[in-house]
Symmetry: none
C-alpha cells in the first residue's frame, strides 16, 4: 500500500500493535535431517501462537531479491523499499547512532592499502584492528575544511563514517572507492552541478588524509563510497497516526527506525531486556518494533545449531510478550538467512499475526512447512503494517 | 521485476540456467475421467523432478488474460508483457525468420475476396493454398515504390508479410483490414503526422496490388494490419549479464528470442534434437530457452489424448536434460491450452524450478492438483527469471 492511501485510511484509537522482528528468520533444510532451523528448534510457544494466528510468508522486496537490513526493515515499517531507499553513507551513520542532520552528507569509509605505484592493493587494509581504526580516525579529525564541519567516526576494523556538515552540500558525489584492487582510487567527482562544491571539499579531505596516512601502511589511504543525505520521509506518526517506538539494541536498527520517525528506546542486549523496556514504556506508545539480532548472526556464521538455539531463546520470551496483551502481535523476520547458505537470501519469510479478527488457520506450528497452509499466503512485506492497522481497527472504510 | 532493478542486481558467474517451455502446458479435467492432461499422462521423470523442485503456477500476463505466444514467452524471458508489446507485423516477420532491421515497417497481410460492389466477402479468400499464396506473392514483388524497398513474404494459406524498408518510415499507419465482412477495405491512413509518408507508400502498394489481383478471385484483394517496427529493447545480456540462447524449431519462437537478444541456435523438430543442440552448445551459453511446440498444437486441436502423449514425449527427454546438470532448471509453459477448450486460456501455468537452494515442497507430482501444495504459489511469470537468477547466485543483495 502506498503511503497516501495509508494516510487517508488511518485513524487513532487506543490499541497496541507489536512487531517482533527475528532477524534472518527464514531458513532452509539441514542437509542431513531435512529440517529447517525452525523445524529443528523446540518452539512450543511460537507453535501455539501460530495456531491462534493468521499465517503466511512475507516477500521483503520482490521475488528473487535478497534484501539488506535497510530494505528488509523499511518494508515491515510500511515503506516500499524500492521507493524509500537509504544511501549507504546514511545507513552507516545511523548505524553508529550518529545524530545525522538534514544538511549533512555522510559516506562510508574504508582504510585501504596503496602499493608503491599508488594502486589499491587491499581495499580493507588487512582489516586493521578497531583500536587502530580509532587512532587513525583521531588523526583525520585534525583536518579542517573551509565552510564545513567534518565528523569522522570509527566503526569497526577498517570501517569509518565521514560526515560533512555545512550549508548547500549535496550528495551528488561519486565514490572514490573503485570496488577493485590493482587500480588507483577514484577522484571525488561531482555527479551533477549541485555536487561540485561538495566534491571539492571531499577532494580536499582525501588529499589531506593521504598526507596524514602516508606512513601508516597498511592503512596508508582511504576510500569513500555511498555519499548520501538523510532522507526526508513522511513519519509513521503522520501517515499511520501511531505513536511508534523501537526497542533495538543494535544501532543500525535504531537508526532505521528513527528514519521513519520512531522513538528509539534505550535497551539491553537480550530479548528479556527488550521486553522489560517494552513493559516499562507500554503506556506511552501504540506501535512498538522489537528487534532480535542473534538468529541472523548465527545464520551468517553458518551455525545451524546456534540459529536453532537462538530461536528457542526467542520462544522462551513469547509468554512475557503475550502477557502485555497487545491487540495485534506480528512475528516475522526482515529476510531469510538460511544457515546452510550463510548469507541473506531471497526466500519468503515466515510471518504470523495474532489479533482479534484473524481468520483461523490450520498451521500447527511456526515453520516453513506448516505455514504453507496459512491463510495469508506469500505477500509483500510492505503490506504487513496495513494488515495490522486493519486488525487494530485503525483503518477506516475505503469509499462509501 | 522491472529491468532497471534487474540490471542493478545482476552479476556474472559460471552457472547455467535452463528454461524448458512446454507450449500450452496447463490443462483442464477431461469430462469423463476428471483428470487433466498432465494427470492423465504417465510422467515419471517430471513427477520425480517436481519432488525435488520448488513448485507453483505462473500467471503469464494478469488474472483472466489468455496470452498469445508473444506475451507468454516475453514474460518468461523476464520482460513485462504489458510493457514490452510486440506489434503484429513484427511478430509475423520474425515468425518466418525474416531479418527485420530497425528502420523496417512490417505488416501482417491477408489475401481476401471482394464482391462486385467492392465489399469484403471473405477476409481469408477461402483460405487459398500455400502454393497459390506463394504465386501471388511473386506477383506482388514486382511492385516498385519510390524511395523504399518492398519485401513480400508468403506465410501459410492466405497469410503473408509485407515489409517496407527505407529511411524515415513510421509504423503510425492504421490497418486496412476492417476486421469485418460486408464493408470495404479501409484506406491506409496515417495515425499521426509521422505516419503520413509511410501511409502514402502503403496506399500506393495497395493500389498496385489491387490492379495485379483484380482477376485472381477469390484472392482478388489484400488486407493489411498491425503495422509495426522492430522494438529496440534492452537485451538479456545487457540487463541480466547472461549469454542467452534459444533452441526452438519454429521460427516465431526463435524470432521472439532474438527480440530480447538471444542467439537462436539451429535445431531439428524433436525434443531430442533440441537437447542434442543444447548439449553441443553447452559451453557457450549460460541461459538456454528450449521450446517444445506439440503440446499446444494438440491442445488447439482439442485432442486430449495426443496432448497427454506429447507430455509423455517431453517426460522421456527429462533424463537427458538433467544429465547436463544445469544449476537451475525451470519447466513450465507460456500459457495453458486445455484440450477441452481448444484455445489459449488464462489459467495459471504449472511451474517447477530445481536448484540448489530451493525450499523443499510437498508436491508428489507435476500436475495442476499436486502443484497447489507448492511453495511458490501462483506468481507472475515475469518473476520466474529473477527467481532463477537468485537461485543461480546471479543477483547481488539489494540495499545495505
Amino acid at each position: 500500500m502506498n503511503l497516501d492511501l495509508a494516510r487517508e485510511l488511518s485513524i487513532q484509537n487506543d490499541t497496541k500493535i507489536v512487531l517482533l522482528v527475528i532477524d534472518g528468520l527464514g531458513g532452509l533444510p539441514h542437509r542431513e535431517t531435512g529440517r529447517t532451523e525452525l523445524e529443528s528448534a523446540y518452539t512450543t510457544h511460537l507453535d501455539l501462537l501460530a495456531k491462534a494466528s493468521a499465517c503466511g510468508f512475507t516477500l521483503p522486496v520482490a521475488p528473487g531479491v535478497a534484501p539488506g537490513s535497510g530494505p528488509g526493515h523499511l518494508a515491515l515499517f510500511g515503506y516500499d523499499p524500492l521507493k524509500y531507499a537509504v544511501g549507504r553513507g546514511v545507513l552507516e551513520a545511523v548505524g553508529i547512532d550518529f545524530d545525522l542532520q538534514s544538511q549533512d552528507v555522510a559516506a562510508r569509509g574504508n582504510f585501504c592499502t596503496l602499493d608503491d605505484g599508488g594502486l589499491v592493493s587491499d581495499r580493507r587494509a588487512g582489516r586493521i584492528s578497531t583500536e587502530l581504526c580509532a587512532e587513525l580516525v583521531a588523526e583525520l579529525r585534525k583536518i579542517r575544511l573551509d565552510g564545513a564541519h567534518l565528523f569522522v567516526e570509527p566503526v569497526r576494523e577498517h570501517r569509518f563514517v565521514l560526515v560533512i556538515r555545512g550549508d548547500g552540500l549535496s550528495d551528488a558525489v561519486a565514490d572514490t572507492d573503485p570496488q577493485a584492487e590493482g587500480v588507483p582510487p577514484l577522484p571525488a567527482r561531482a555527479i551533477s552541478r549541485e555536487g561540485e562544491a561538495t566534491a571539492r571539499l571531499v577532494s580536499r579531505f582525501v588529499e589531506e588524509a593521504g598526507r596524514i596516512l602516508a606512513d601508516k601502511a597498511p592503512a596508508n589511504m582511504l576510500l569513500l563510497r555511498g555519499f548520501a543525505k538523510r532522507p526526508e520521509w513522511p513519519s509513521m506518526s503522520e501517515v499511520f497516526k501511531l505513536r511508534p517506538a523501537a526497542v533495538a539494541y543494535y544501532p543500525m536498527y535504531r537508526g532505521l527506525a528513527r528514519l521513519v520517525g520512531m522513538q528509539a528506546l534505550p535497551t539491553g542486549p537480550g530479548l528479556e531486556d527488550s521486553i522489560a523496556t517494552l513493559r516499562e514504556n507500554w503506556a506511552h506508545f501504540d506501535y512498538v518494533f522489537i528487534h532480535y539480532k542473534y538468529t541472523d548472526t548465527a545464520g551468517e556464521d553458518r551455525d545451524f545449531e546456534r540459529k536453532a538455539a537462538k530461536l528457542e531463546e526467542v520462544d522462551a520470551a513469547i509468554p512475557s510478550l503475550l502477557a502485555l496483551e497487545p491487540d495485534v502481535l506480528m512475528v516475522t523476520g526482515d529476510h531469510s538467512t538460511p544457515a546452510v547458505m550463510g548469507v541473506h537470501s531471497w526466500h519468503p519469510v515466515p510471518f504470523m499475526m495474532r489479533a482479534r479478527w484473524t481468520r483461523a488457520d490450520e498451521c500447527g506450528a511456526f515453520n516453513e512447512t506448516a505455514l504453507r497452509k496459512g491463510s495469508l499466503g506469500t505477500f509483500p512485506a510492505v503490506d504487513a503494517l496495513p494488515l495490522a492497522m486493519a486488525h487494530a481497527g485503525r483503518f477506516r472504510k475505503y469509499g462509501a
